[in-house]
């Protein structure tokens, strides 16, 4: 008796996927790299394949780049508008935090063509972000701030007739960074279910949110060119296209993303399973032909350069990047020495598992998925999953107990006796409900903690199940849950997740030493985000769409090879 689960085809079931105890380890999840099924990669392939038409319907900016721009987007399935409000922001108010109340620019993606009335409504609400109200025709609401240093340098260079200094550009990699991207019905917007059914162009996970970031990037180029031109009409040049492609859109991600991973375990388990299936398929069936081996070498060299070009002040991240760069170089040397005897890629991954760190292992895995789109891209449609965490009330307690022992052995093995194992608690602050971490024994608020420690809840449930069986016999889960309503949620979750291949993220998120940043990077890798720049253990800056094609590239030949972006050769 099992709860509704993901059903596998026989071929998929036979795939030798890596075990959950390896894959779901939080520290490993915190080393994942983007790969061809990352959401922004899927989105860009779609835009390029379907030749989306993206043009201005309004372009009304002043000399400083403040004003309004509306992009009209025509796809095979519909028409949308992307509305940008750009303004002067008092530097004292510029903040990446969710608690900020003013931004350089605010945007929304909305259904259909925007007329004057609609624009007025959006103008009155979008710049207010959380304090405004939009409606069910809006799909995404977002905002972004300038990278002040980069923006100023680029304007300065362009207005003087030269391209910006790429050494400086490379340190940041973007002109604007988003500080929040809202979708899925927030503030009155269209529900995900409506997006999935009605706005088919954005029916893949986070596609609309990714598209919004893609267009903020586009706007950042247009605004920069515009301002430079108005500053020095006689001397200004436009930013070179190859530099534009190298520039991404920045992003700052904090703790808010972590509860999402814990509250949507089916979704996360599915994303991870799809990734692992792609890898398993390659390890089982992809042949290392001479051509593929050559591509492998190119990707390794590109990845190495990419790592070398990441600029972060975080000493630990620098050590990680350096080590991965060195190890992947060693791996390439080993590969070239043994090329004649390598008959399948599992020889490479086994060598990596035995000789290199986890970061390097996952980097190699990502490279393998880049080598074989023919084994990967068919899985794109599998990224969506409908989340139901239904109770299986007729399940006998003995079976539930067995499920816990089999699928949550890792949770039962955790020791919650030391104070330090429960030293952290997660809560929502009265300030914009921002998720925060507290020290349980030193700070107030633990009585209002969020449900973030699945392992502890499973342990407590397990102990009560054992006792109930001893006292009342092997009754059904329904009777147990009636008498222990505090366990009903975790029972539904156990029953649901036990039917998946990968189950839960394996970690004690209440430990003194918890590193939420691993959760953030895991999710961001599925978005397709790179260049992680941890600012603390609780938030990270990163770059999206670096290396991606431009809107002006739509309709041109497109190779889906913009992973591991590296500096172009053009320079000021």
């Amino acid at each position: 008796m099992v709860s509704p689960a993901i059903h596998y085809h026989a071929k998929e079931k036979a795939l030798n996927c890596r075990p959950a105890n390896v894959v779901m380890d939080l520290a490993r999840l915190g080393t994942l790299y983007p790969y061809p099924l990352s959401f922004m990669r899927c989105l860009v392939r779609r835009i390029m394949r379907e030749k989306w038409e993206i043009k201005h319907s309004i372009f009304d900016l002043g000399a400083e780049g403040h004003g309004e721009v509306v992009y009209q987007i025509s796809t095979p399935n519909g028409t949308y508008s992307y509305v940008v409000f750009s303004k002067f922001l008092d530097p004292a108010k510029r903040s990446d935090r969710v608690i900020a109340e003013d931004w350089d620019l605010t945007v929304t993606l909305t259904e259909g063509v925007v007329d004057a009335d609609r624009l007025k409504f959006l103008r009155e609400n979008v710049p207010l972000q959380e304090m405004g109200r939009v409606d069910s025709k809006c799909i995404v609401l977002s905002r972004a701030n300038k990278s002040v240093r980069n923006y100023k340098n680029v304007i300065e260079a362009l207005s003087n007739g030269r391209q910006p200094n790429l050494d400086e550009m490379a340190k940041v990699g973007y002109l604007y960074r988003t500080t929040a991207v809202y979708g899925s019905g927030k503030f009155g917007m269209a529900d995900w279910e409506k997006v999935r059914v009605k706005y088919r162009d954005f029916a893949q996970p986070f596609a609309a949110e990714m598209f919004s970031c893609f267009l903020i990037r586009q706007f950042s180029f247009e605004k920069t060119d515009w301002v430079a031109k108005h500053k020095a009409p006689d001397t200004a040049v436009a930013l070179d296209d190859s530099i534009k492609r190298y520039i991404g859109i920045g992003n700052a991600t904090g703790l808010g993303m972590a509860p999402y991973l814990i509250n949507h375990p089916l979704l996360i388990a599915n994303w991870i399973e799809v990734r692992e299936m792609a890898l398993a398929e390659i390890l089982a069936n992809a042949v290392p032909t001479e051509e593929k081996c050559g591509h492998f070498e190119c990707y390794v060299l590109k990845a190495k350069q990419h790592l070398e070009e990441i600029s972060t002040d975080n000493a630990e991240q620098n050590i990680i990047n350096d080590r991965a760069g060195r190890e992947i170089t060693k791996c390439l040397e080993w590969f070239n020495l043994n090329r004649q005897i390598i008959t399948d890629w599992s020889q490479v991954t086994t060598h990596a598992a035995e000789n290199y760190g986890v970061e390097t292992q996952e980097l190699l895995n990502a490279i393998l998925t880049e080598l074989y789109p023919e084994h990967v891209l068919d899985l794109e449609d599998r990224l969506n999953v409908t989340e139901h965490y239904d109770m299986v009330p007729q399940m006998k307690l003995s079976e539930l107990k067995l499920q816990i022992e089999e699928h949550y052995d890792w949770a039962l093995a955790l020791d919650f006796t030391p104070q330090s194992s429960l030293g952290t608690f997660w809560y929502r602050s009265a300030e914009k409900e921002e998720p925060r971490l507290g020290q349980r024994y030193n700070e107030p608020g633990a009585e209002k903690e969020m449900m973030m420690c699945i392992a502890r809840d499973v342990q407590q449930c397990y102990e009560d199940v054992e006792k109930y069986i001893r006292d009342a016999g092997d009754k059904t889960t329904a009777f147990f849950a009636f008498n222990h309503p505090d366990h009903r949620y975790i029972i539904r979750r156990i029953q649901t997740m036990s039917a998946t291949r990968y189950g839960e993220v394996r970690a004690n998120l209440l430990d003194d030493d918890v590193l939420p940043i691993h959760l953030l990077r895991c999710k961001l890798s599925f978005f397709g985000v790179g260049k992680f720049d941890p600012r603390s253990k609780m938030w990270v800056r990163n770059t999206m769409f670096q290396g991606a094609p431009l809107i002006s590239d739509i309709g041109e030949d497109f190779g889906d090879h913009w992973c591991f972006p590296i500096r172009p050769s053009v320079d000021g």
């Binding site: 990446d96 703790l255 239904d390 925060r436 009636f482 309503p485 949620y489």
Partner: protein, 233 residues
């Protein structure tokens, strides 16, 4: 209308989760309680209004836990101890399905509860588990067949006991309903309401929205300098 606010389903859902978390902490399955109210609201049964009317009961921490008497393997009696069915409803559907799985039919008679209209929310879950279900309310009888997401709602013949029936076989409702053709709310009506809630969102009174937000605010921890450090720079 000026005194209404339009919410997306997800927005209302998130708010309801916070409301029930604020009311019960981790002592209850607050996600499924929220799902109960959301289902009612999205199918035209004024879930938010029922929730707000039940607030005094839901907030009453001194009410005893409900009790269960087993008349037979297939017949239970639950005394709700004055609690709301918004709180107890999910457990009732669990019990009904569990008993019907073993006996092909189950009946739970329900005593001493509030918000009896919430009983119908057990039916979609029962139907998803491949059973037929009847929710005999105070004034209505709700009937669902397996695989359907909404019940057909009839006027009840006479006032009487609340019961939830779950069975593998077809159900004869003539015992409870005067005229089976006299449908109070059809599946189609509710489905239409549900579709509209997805397309256009859900309107609730601003005063109701504010009342829910007030309750939900109890999950928030006051901001301090120390807490700001707990979120990054």
């Amino acid at each position: 209308m000026a005194d209404e606010i339009n919410l997306s389903r997800n927005e209302l859902w998130a708010l309801l989760v916070k409301v029930f978390e604020a009311l019960f902490g981790h002592r209850r399955d607050y996600y499924d309680m929220a799902r109960t109210v959301l289902w009612l609201e999205c199918h035209g049964h004024k879930g938010v209004k029922q929730l707000l009317e039940s607030l005094p009961v839901l907030e009453n921490g001194s009410l005893p836990e409900p009790t269960l008497a087993e008349i037979s393997d297939a017949h239970l009696v639950m005394d709700g101890s004055g609690r709301s069915l918004l709180d107890l409803g999910p457990s009732l559907s669990d019990l009904a399905i569990a008993c019907a799985s073993e006996n092909d039919i189950a009946r739970i008679d329900i005593l001493n509860v509030r918000s009896s209209a919430a009983l119908m929310v057990a039916l979609p879950f029962i139907a998803r588990q491949r059973f037929n279900g009847v929710a005999v309310g105070l004034n209505t009888v709700c009937v669902t067949a397996l695989g359907t997401n909404c019940p057909t709602i009839f006027n009840k013949l006479s006032e009487g006991q609340l019961s939830l029936i779950c069975t593998r076989d077809g159900i004869d409702v003539s015992e409870y309903v005067e005229d089976e053709r006299s449908v109070l709310k059809s599946v189609e009506m509710q489905t239409e309401f549900f579709s509209a809630s997805l397309e256009n969102g859900i309107n609730i009174l601003t005063s109701e929205f504010e009342a829910l937000k007030d309750v939900a605010a109890n999950i928030l921890v006051e901001a301090t300098e120390a807490s700001r450090r707990g979120a990054g720079e």
